[in-house]
């Protein structure tokens, strides 16, 4: 087990280097250099000084190594547009809100999704099951911007239930964005849990447990649920991607000053160092989450240890 975890952690290092490299290469393809924009006419000497200041006059591999070194020391570089701030400031200011939004949405999706999926699985083909699965399928297909707009339109305005239409301050202001962001992953969890539940219920050990006279409630709690939930853990990785994508939209609609919203602002302002820094940050978060998921999976299901290391 120990070697599995160590091997898995060590393997993460080249992965992160590769992802930074890809982001780096992609960012370099964006036409022109940030200071040589057509809107601004910068004298040649100042231009050269600026490039020297930000290390843009060095060959690309030196720039890459410098960048990796900076990232390793948690320095994501300066902002090219806001002269007195660097990417770290922006992360420090905006990231906690995104983290809270994403974390609460994940919690909502996880708890409600497993509950709905488990109930549907246990009462397969009942009215409850059909209803829940219909709603899950619809919830999975609805674009997040429609869900968010409908929430604002009905819950905040038409019926006036006391939810603000935007912001991220009181708990009331957090309810709608969290549910809007968590709805699609919730639906995905529900469908997945229902499927694995149905599969687990067919297993011989469930029949054995029933045959030896175990009470049904105990069978479900001890055998069915536990074994059905293992695949759900694998779904946690893609869910994070879901949440990041969703946060771009949800933060925009609810005017939450988080990372997703700032990212879009930075792209529009062509603040490329911020775009790059935030991309690398998001990618590293996803990679670390996948690392965590893999290790959890290895602990819960020993068969996967060799294959996934």
């Amino acid at each position: 087990m120990g070697t599995f975890i160590i091997r898995r952690i060590v393997w993460t290092i080249p992965v992160i280097l590769l992802v930074i490299f890809m982001t780096f290469v992609l960012m370099r393809q964006i036409a022109g250099n940030p200071f040589r924009t057509s809107e601004r006419n910068v004298p040649e000497e100042i231009q050269r000084n600026l490039e020297r200041k930000f290390g843009l006059d060095k060959p690309w591999y030196i720039q890459y190594v410098t960048y990796v070194k900076n990232v390793a020391t948690f320095d994501l570089g300066p902002s090219l547009v806001l002269r007195n701030r660097d990417v770290n400031d922006i992360v420090r200011e905006h990231f906690p809100r995104s983290l809270e939004l994403g974390g609460l949405a994940f919690l909502f999706a996880f708890v409600v999704g497993i509950l709905v999926g488990a109930l549907s699985g246990l009462r397969a083909n009942s009215a409850l099951d059909y209803g829940a699965m219909f709603l899950s399928n619809v919830g999975y297909a609805l674009p997040s911007f429609l869900v968010a707009t409908l929430f604002i339109y009905f819950f905040a305005l038409e019926w006036d239930l006391g939810f603000p239409t935007s912001g991220w301050t009181t708990w009331q202001s957090k309810v709608l964005p969290v549910i809007a962001l968590g709805l699609a992953p919730m639906a995905a969890f529900a469908r997945l849990v229902r499927g694995t539940m149905l599969e687990t219920l067919q297993q011989d050990y469930i029949r054995t447990a029933k045959a030896k006279g175990l009470r049904w409630r105990r069978v479900v709690g001890l055998h069915v649920l536990r074994n059905s939930l293992i695949p759900v853990i694998t779904a946690a990785g893609p869910t994070l991607g879901f949440l990041i994508t969703g946060s771009f939209v949800i933060e925009q609609i609810f005017a939450i000053p988080g990372i997703g919203r700032y990212y879009v602002t930075a792209v529009t302002a062509r603040d490329y160092s911020v775009v790059m820094g935030l991309t690398v940050l998001l990618a590293i978060i996803v990679i670390l989450a996948n690392l965590f998921v893999d290790i959890m999976y290895g602990i819960l299901d020993p068969r996967t240890r060799d294959a996934r290391a």
């Binding site: 964006i30 429609l146 879009v264």
Partner: protein, 312 residues
């Protein structure tokens, strides 16, 4: 027996399937083949049939309606600004008084065009990558799969945004490129898995034994048999790509006006959602319908074309 011409077997597949026993011994032989069986299995799944029909209707609406519509999708008339659904404008009008039904059809062409274009590109990349990895095997396969694992979980939206930024001006084709570059991983993995399973078949060994070159084994015996999973992959990838385009357009990083996609139309409706919620609702519901249908069609196709996955 009614045979849909589209389901008629392609020669390569018929050859392989003819080896399968059809019908019990002694009973009159019922002519059967993979595609006819698949069609039968598919049509038993009522949800998938319904979803497939709605999908086709939506496709026809998008393709034909702009020709028969009495309105011009770009004609601005402020007298008709942001009207709700009525008899003359069944979906209402937008902020510029343009007929939303016509615009939904025209915008659907862009959304679905990008969707199918990117899906096709995803299939091409996926087949190339997956078949090389699966066919060559060994170390190369190992390395290629590791790379895929690395790329797999990455948040696709930031990378798609960067790719569109590289092109500067976002057009139909930059969108296709950006979306396919960030989402070909699943298909590549599916194709590779399929090739590896198929490689073990006796007919592949037989082909090798009679001296078939590698490209013949791959092109004649392996790739045609991945057709089933590729058809499933179309409907697995389409929703993600269409949603991705819609999200990019919605946050203001989509294709440049005057072209409008469903996401762009939803973005137009965002500012007016209090007085005219139908402007954002109509294109969003179109997207939702398309995605819902594609999901059910994919489910149905998986049961129909790849029944083995059900057994596990």
């Amino acid at each position: 027996m009614v045979v849909n011409p589209r389901e008629a077997p392609t020669p390569a597949i018929a050859g392989d399937v003819a080896l399968l026993p059809s019908g019990a011994a002694g009973a009159p032989l019922r002519q059967s083949n993979l595609w006819r069986d698949a069609l039968r299995r598919y049509s038993r799944n009522r949800a998938a049939v319904l979803a497939g029909s709605v999908f086709v209707l939506l496709l026809l609406f998008v393709l034909i309606f702009p020709f028969v519509s009495p309105y011009d999708s770009d004609k601005i008339d402020f007298a008709l600004k942001a009207q709700g659904p009525s008899l003359s404008h069944p979906f209402g009008t937008d902020n510029f008084g343009r007929d939303l039904m016509t615009r939904t059809a025209v915008g659907g062409r862009v959304s679905m065009g990008i969707g199918f274009g990117a899906t096709l590109a995803i299939l091409l990349i996926g087949v190339a990558y997956g078949s090389i990895s699966g066919f060559v095997g060994g170390r190369l396969d190992n390395g290629m799969m590791r790379l895929l694992d690395t790329l797999y979980g990455l948040p696709y939206l930031p990378f798609a945004i960067i790719v569109t930024a590289i092109f500067g001006n976002v057009t139909f084709w930059t969108m296709v490129v950006a979306l396919s570059i960030v989402s070909w991983f699943t298909t590549a993995r599916i194709v590779r898995g399929q090739i590896i399973t198929l490689k073990e078949n006796d007919y592949v060994r037989a082909a090798r034994a009679v001296g078939a070159r590698w490209y013949r084994v791959l092109g004649r015996h392996l790739l045609p048999n991945t057709l089933g999973v590729l058809i499933i992959a179309i409907f697995l990838e389409l929703p993600g790509v269409i949603l991705g385009e819609a999200i990019l357009s919605f946050i203001g990083l989509g294709i440049s006006p005057p072209d409008a996609s469903w996401g762009q139309m939803a973005n137009d409706g965002r500012t007016a959602y209090r007085i005219a919620p139908h402007i954002i609702a109509v294109p969003s519901i179109a997207i939702a319908t398309l995605i819902l249908c594609a999901n059910f069609v994919a489910d149905g196709l998986r049961d129909a074309l790849d029944p083995r996955t059900k057994e596990t």
